[in-house]
């Protein structure tokens, strides 16, 4: 049940408060929401928090879906916005919280996760290089980061990325080109300072 029309039907039923439909909608789409969020934050806990927010938004504001894009495009748009908001919120908190070394200021939980978390889907032998690449991706401007993540990591076609970003295919191509240039520059700098 991943067909767009099926998802639309499930979303319609969800809008009318059908909990079973909402559960089926969740089962059909949880993987893409969770993995997209994971590409931005790279740790399970944060990705699950974003996933929760996305599905709460879907349930509460299903009426906002007007049908001018596909359900998956709309869902990706909500996910990308939720992930970017989450990152901004986290960055703001890090600036002023002097207890962040002890407690997570968002939840109050004692921090125990590594400073630079690793995406759980990265193949073991690539983890070192993937960590460097993710650090470089973190420095990209939001639009370049989104274009790069949706195309290179999520594997979406550029036309769908353009729809998610409410932009044109040409603009996405341009964003990808700039993202690649910036990444190469970042990696070259890293190579200069860390390699003999």
């Amino acid at each position: 049940m991943t067909d767009s029309s099926d998802l639309s039907a499930l979303l319609d039923a969800t809008r009318q408060g059908n909990e079973t439909a909402f559960h089926r909608f969740y089962d059909a789409t949880k993987s893409r929401v969770f993995n997209t969020a994971l590409s931005y934050v790279r740790n399970r806990e944060d990705a699950e928090e974003i996933t929760q927010d996305v599905f709460l938004t879907v349930f509460r504001s299903g009426d906002a879906f007007r049908g001018d894009a596909s359900v998956t495009t709309w869902l990706y748009r909500i996910t990308v916005n939720a992930a970017l908001d989450f990152l901004k919120h986290k960055k703001r908190q890090k600036r002023f919280a002097f207890l962040t070394t002890l407690f997570d200021t968002h939840t109050g939980a004692v921090l125990h996760e590594p400073v630079d978390p690793m995406h759980p889907g990265v193949v073991l032998e690539n983890q070192e290089q993937a960590a460097i690449l993710f650090r470089a991706i973190d420095t990209l401007p939001d639009k370049q980061k989104t274009a790069y993540i949706l195309t290179r990591i999520e594997g979406l076609p550029q036309s769908e990325v353009a729809a998610v970003m409410a932009s044109s295919v040409g603009a996405v191509e341009s964003l990808l080109q700039r993202a690649n240039e910036n990444l190469k520059k970042q990696l070259a700098d890293w190579y200069q300072s860390n390699r003999p």
Partner: protein, 104 residues
Amino acid sequence: MEPEKEKWINDVLRSLDGLQRAEPNPFLYAKIYNRLTGREVPDRVSLRTAWLTVASFSLLALLNWWIAVGKPDAVHSPTSPLSSMATEMQLYPTTDQLYDTWTE
């Protein structure tokens, strides 16, 4: 660009090839549903609790410091060894002098 450096950069850019899809926690739907129905049970310590804990420990440390450094007279007992011995032997003299050397 040096060929070695270029190769390394391309390797890093390709390091996400074959990235495996991850699955969320199987209980995630239950969490979402609980939040929807307002039955959310926090599974982590709230920020308020964390601050209260920090404040309690700070107060405890301050009180300890105040007792140890700020009120030394109140802590030190003026009991002399002689008085202790007299109490131990159940002697209850009116003064610390056990007997008056100038009488008799």
